[in-house]
């Protein structure tokens, strides 16, 4: 890919879902999107590892799915909207995924949101970064 604009690179705790990411995560996201079909959800639930073999993912990506390692999935090219499908199938509230991704407990995360969300101070630029 062309170098992503420095501006994107400068934003902390954020994935720039560009062509490189798309390519890296293509099969992973194809698996995740396959869960939109009721039959596929059933097949996946019945035998997760077997179902995963029908997608040309890397072993790392498969393991991240089996481990429900959301941070790893994101690192390996997972698209966040595709990941919501898996959370729905599992019945995991997405706030929990967000708590995990930002290194907080569910309680801390909920309290932060109820207090008006994550404050913008220190999360605009890597130069002033206070997260991650």
């Amino acid at each position: 890919m062309t170098k992503p604009a420095d501006a994107f690179e400068d934003i902390p705790g954020t994935v720039h879902f560009n062509g490189e990411r798309l390519r890296q995560g293509y099969q992973l996201n194809k698996f995740l999107s396959s869960l939109l079909e009721p039959d596929n959800r059933k097949a996946f639930k019945a035998d997760q590892a077997a179902y995963l073999t029908s997608f040309k993912m890397t072993d790392e990506q498969r393991q991240a799915v089996l481990d429900r390692n959301w941070v790893r999935m994101l690192d390996l090219g997972g698209n966040i909207f595709c990941m919501t499908k898996l959370a729905l199938v599992d019945g995991t509230p997405f706030q929990q995924v967000n708590a995990i991704m930002s290194g907080m407990t569910m309680k801390e995360y909920e309290e932060m949101m109820n207090a008006g969300g994550r404050p913008m101070e220190g999360i605009r630029s890597k130069k002033e970064q206070n997260i991650g």
Partner: protein, 283 residues
């Protein structure tokens, strides 16, 4: 002649759809949000538009990454609510206005907008939640809908300026239609939120409110902001508010704000809802 008589913007938070569908709008956490939409519901019920053009984005539900159109226009007669992972929402089928949609497609393509023509597609919460917020739970949606789906989830997204210019082109398209129709345009998405990574949960009330101010008085300024700046200020997922600019582009430079509502949070997201109409219309 068809005419765009007004526009509204609204967040399209999927959870709000689930709360409506589950009959939980009166719960203390949710009630203030749905109260904020009451004026919009009343306004739309009184206005009785024939068609609502909904600018929205899909979230890997109706589309897969197999192909990603920058701008897609729904030309079919019907659009079914998408299965987003736990069965489709139990909301009415969305009825299109195929004749107007095809006319708009002709006009937009002649105007150098490189539309993708959709003859079959499912619509996800990006489109159906705004309908629920604005109409409640009717047995059938009380107007026809022309879905215009914008790619905001895969880089490169269209620029904020291109979204604004699309609004202007939509207006030319509607106004050159040969039949009398009362048309409303809706911009959806936002406001500030990010639902991935270490910045998950960000909310930027200051930017959101500044954005609504500028959207009202000087939208062209908002078209100069880069994707990266939008992502920085309103989050990677919140940058979808550039779709509000499409609605804004379809209205006059001078508008009156009939309703303005802002609430924090709906779980992960700031919620905004604004109604605008051309100033001459209210004069």
């Amino acid at each position: 002649m068809a005419e765009i008589v007004a526009g509204f913007c609204t967040s399209h938070v999927p959870l709000l759809g689930r709360v409506i569908d589950g009959g939980r709008t009166q719960e203390p956490y949710w009630k203030p949000i749905f109260q904020g939409y009451e004026p919009t519901k009343k306004w739309l019920a009184d206005l009785k538009p024939d068609v609502v053009i909904v600018i929205y984005n899909d979230h890997a539900n109706g589309f897969s990454f197999k192909y990603t159109p920058t701008f897609a226009i729904g030309c079919a007669d019907e659009f079914n609510p998408a299965d987003e992972g736990h069965g489709p929402r139990h909301v009415p089928v969305v009825h299109g206005h195929s004749r107007l949609a095809w006319h708009m497609t002709e006009s937009l393509v002649a105007d150098q907008f490189d539309m993708t023509i959709m003859n079959e597609m499912d619509v996800d919460h990006g489109l159906t939640v705004p309908l629920s917020l604005a109409c409640g739970q009717p047995e059938a949606w009380p107007f026809k809908v022309i879905p215009i789906c914008v790619n905001v989830i895969q880089y490169p997204q269209p620029t904020a300026e291109r979204c604004y210019l699309l609004g202007k082109a939509i207006r030319r398209a509607v106004e050159s239609y040969d039949e009398d129709l009362k048309v409303v345009i809706a911009g959806t998405g936002g406001m500030s939120h990010q639902i991935h990574g270490a910045r998950s949960g960000l909310i930027n009330q200051k930017f959101d409110n500044w954005f609504i101010d500028k959207l009202t008085t000087s939208p062209a300024e908002l078209t100069k902001i880069s994707h990266a700046e939008y992502v920085r200020e309103v989050g990677a997922e919140g940058m979808e508010i550039i779709m509000w600019l499409t609605m804004r582009g379809a209205l006059d430079d001078n508008v009156d704000v009939l309703h303005r509502f802002y609430h924090v949070p709906a779980m992960n997201t700031a919620v905004g809802n604004v109604i605008m109409q051309n100033s001459r219309a209210s004069a």
